[in-house]
Structures are given as C-alpha cells and as structure tokens.
Amino acid sequence: MAAMTETMTINMGPQHPSTHGVLRLVLELDGENVVKATPHIGFLHRGVEKLSEYRTYHQVIPLTDRLDYLAPMSNNLGYVLAVEKLLGITDQIPERAKVIRVMLAELTRIKSHLVWLACHALDIGAMTVFIYCFREREHIMEMYEKISGARMTSNYFRVGGLSADLPAGFEKEVREFIDAMPGHIETYEGLLTGNKIWQKRIVGVGVISGEDALDIGITGGSLRGSGIDWDLRRDHPYSGYEDYDFKVPVDDGCDTWARYKVRLDEMRESCKIVRQALDKLKPGPILADVPKVCLPPKQDVVNTIEGLIHHFKIITEGFKPEAGEIYQSVEAPKGELGFYLVSDGSARPYRMKIRPPSFLNLQALPQMVEGRLIADVVAVIGTLDIVLGDIDR
C-alpha cells in the first residue's frame, strides 16, 4: 500500500500555552513538517485607536498601559513624548523627570526581557529558569507598585513630566537590585547557555537574514540578532539618551541563538544605564513649567486663583495642541514602538496610529517556520517575543 501524502490542517491556539496569549495559528502539516502557517490575530482587539479619539490627551495614557502589558512604562514614554513633540515642549522637560523616565524605561526593558527569557525557556522545557526570572521580575513589580500604586498598569508618566516624585528610599532599592542583577543573569546563562538540549533546540532555528528582516519590518532585539546595528536610543536619542554610555549588542547569527545572546546582553547594558541614571539623579522639579498643559501643584490650586483656573481648565477641557501631525518612536523592549498623532486643534487626538513592534515582528513568523518542524514553531514564537495586547491593540 502506498504511503499517505495528504497534509493535515490543525489549529494551534488561541488557547495554547506557548502562544503567549490569544494567538491562533492554522498550521498545515506534512507529518511533523510545517507546510504553511497562517496567523490569526485580533482576539484582544479593544479599539485603543478609536477610543483615543474620544478622550483628552491625558486620558489616553492609561490606554497605552494596556498595549504591551509587559512593558507599560515604555508605552507611556512613547506616548507622552509624542504629545510633547506635538505641543512643541520637548526641550522644557525638567532634567530630573528625564532621568527618572530613562531609569524606569530601562528597568521596564529588564522586566520585559525577563518574561521573554522565562517563557521562551519554559516553552522549550527548561522550567527552572522560569522561576528564577519571575523572582527578579517580582522585584521590579514591587518597585512599580511603590512609585505608581499598580504592579502592571503603571500610568506614571505625564505630558510634561511625571505624576509624582520617587518615594523615599527608592533609589537605594534600585541600586541594590542593579548590583544583584548581573549575577542573576549569570545564573540564567549557567542554566541555559552551555546546556546541550537548549543549544539543540535554538541553534539554527528560525533563521531570517538581515535583509529579509528589514523588509518584513522586524525591529528591536530580533533585528539586531540578524546583524543589523540599529537602535533608536542611539540613532534617534530621546529623553536624554545621548548622555548615557552604553553598547548596542549585535549578532549576525540570524537565528534564535543569536537573538538569545543579544537580549541577554541588552539586559546587562540596561543595568549600566540604570546605574548611570542613578548617578545623574539630582533633586529638582518633576513637571515642566507649562501652566496650560501641566497640572499646577496642589498648594497653588487651593491658594491662588490662577492655579485653580488652570487645574479646572486642564481637567474639564484638556489642552489643545495646534493642528499638525507628528510621529515619535521609542526603542521599546520588543522593537520600535511609534505613535503617529494627528491634531485638528481640539483637545482630543484627531487620529492616533500606534506602530506596535510585535505586530510587524509576528508577520515574519510564517517565513521563519515554513519547512521546519512543528516543535520549532514554539521556539520561534518565543524568540519573536510577541505580546498580543500590543499586536491587537
């Protein structure tokens, strides 16, 4: 009897644990080989872009928390920088606010990369790493809670600065964490890098050349793992990144192994940046002196008539940027996170288009897995470091 040559079509997700949320993949399989992979997304679509057109600029900040929920501060940062650019007040942001923003954005990068490493290793079968990574992540979540009151949806940055100053003793806590973190990264490396099973599962898997990666729109650590030396923090500095000394890790291996090494090095560099930020931190104002945009101090609201009027106007009406359009992007942990804002001169964004890094990174999945084994699909989803909240918006 002749062997059967029919292909089989199966669903992977949207409830599959290794799809990191609600990603549905329709896989056409020939035995264990993937012939065709078709991603279906949108299960987490909440219409953030539509909702933002019906809110004032400040009311949009909590919506951005919920895009990439593993890195809320990066989303906040991208959005407030975009609004500041639209208003033309970028150079009026106080130094202290800028330094704190950089420090928290880098802690957020570590936090996001910890989840990437934890889940990537767990999907492939290395369970121990997961527990260690989440232990460190818990520290960062506690820091989040101390400064903003929330562990995940921070809503901490404001247009013009920050919502509040750092609590007492916070700098010491960050310094202790940063001192311990490089040792923790060594621990993860000790569990994985020399591990034969880990190597067999990721070396030469999910290969994409630098040229293809650029064409399909991959950014962030995944692009740098394909040998393209491009980082928005260095190439288009924002929030004072030009004053920090850090390296941009690049590896031309083009496979999952290369991306693994790049992201581990990124965590080490982030530790360095946080340390520099701590050294730069000086007392000072945390909100720009732009009365029509930034809320006045509470003291002024209760004691002066101008303070009361500004407070009332900003809360009830919001501020009105002049008509125009801008694009501002930041190097989020997963890649280029951009906000394209169009203003018609009213107090609400006329149109806000988010450029989510995960959306474009996921687009490369079919070409990275087709022709490979089904077990590699799990590794490739892990290495692309996608978050469905970011993809579906």
Partner: protein
C-alpha cells in the same frame, strides 16, 4: 543626503506627482498623487535608500473640515543608512476608496494594508491577501471611520453620554 535633498530628487523625478510639501516640528510630509504611489515608493526604496516601511496608516478627514478627498493613506518610510524619516501621503476619494498596494515594494506593507482595509475601509489593488485582520471575518463596517459610532453600530451611547 538630507531629507530636503530626497524631496528635491523626488520632485525632479515626478514633477507632476508631488502635490504638497509640509514641514511641522522638523518632520517632512509629502502629499503625492495616489496613481503614482507604487512608482514613487519603488524610487524611494531603490534610489533614495528608504529600505524600511515603518508604518502605514489610514486617515479619515471627513471631520477635519478641510476640502479635498475624504481619505488619505500615510506611509512612514525610513532610511536606515542616513537615519532619516519621510512621510508620504496619498489622497484617496470617498467613493470606492482604492489605491495600489506597495506590498511588492516592502513586505511589511502586507499586514499594515490589511489593517488599513479592515479598520478604515480603504481597498488595495493587487494585494496578495486582502482579508480582515483585527475584526472578525464577518464584521460589517470599518470602525476607524469618523461616521462609525464609538460604542458600535445600533447601540445607545453609554449611559446616554453624548461625546
């Protein structure tokens, strides 16, 4: 090459197609004719080095109170060598809004154009796979249009709130 130089080259190559050049907060926006979008994008990529399509957005101008076609497709392109951004805009008419696909120029346009079709209802000629992407397949309407109510069709506004 500065981005001004890129604009001059584009103007020289496509004299009748560049409709408007605008600068705001140091960012250049070029409005070009929709018919020539594929030729212009190919030129930008091949000759001017804009190898990345960073983003693509649909824009509904019907609530803006300006004259001209209702829709615009906005291309945010990036030159990774010169580290420069440029924004191209192509106006699209309200009746049967369509424009040629640029997915043959940049692969990343594939999903971005699907999203634009899904949420804004602008169709792309010759697109390899023009299906809805974020909304369910059987959805009726295009939510990001300005005449689409925020609470969804056939529903009362939340607690009677008028926005």
């Amino acid at each position: 090459m500065t981005d001004q130089a890129a604009v001059e080259k584009l103007k020289a190559k496509f004299p009748g197609s560049v409709l408007e050049v605008k600068e705001f907060r140091g960012e250049l926006t070029l409005t070009v004719k929709a018919e020539d979008i594929v030729a212009i994008c190919t030129f930008c990529k091949k000759e001017l080095g804009y190898t990345m399509l960073a983003d693509l957005a649909g824009l509904d101008l019907s609530a803006m109170g300006v004259a001209g076609p209702r829709f615009q497709v906005v291309y945010n392109i990036y030159n990774i060598k010169a580290k420069q951004r440029l924004r191209l805009k192509a106006p699209v008419e309200e009746r049967g809004p369509r424009i040629d696909t640029v997915s043959g120029v940049w692969g990343s346009a594939n999903w971005l154009e699907r999203e634009c079709w899904d949420l804004m209802g602008i169709s792309f000629n010759n697109h390899p796979d023009l299906r809805r992407i974020l909304m369910p397949d059987d959805w009726v309407g295009h939510p990001l249009r300005k005449d689409y109510p925020v609470q969804g069709p056939d529903r009362e506004p939340y607690q009677g709130r008028q926005i």
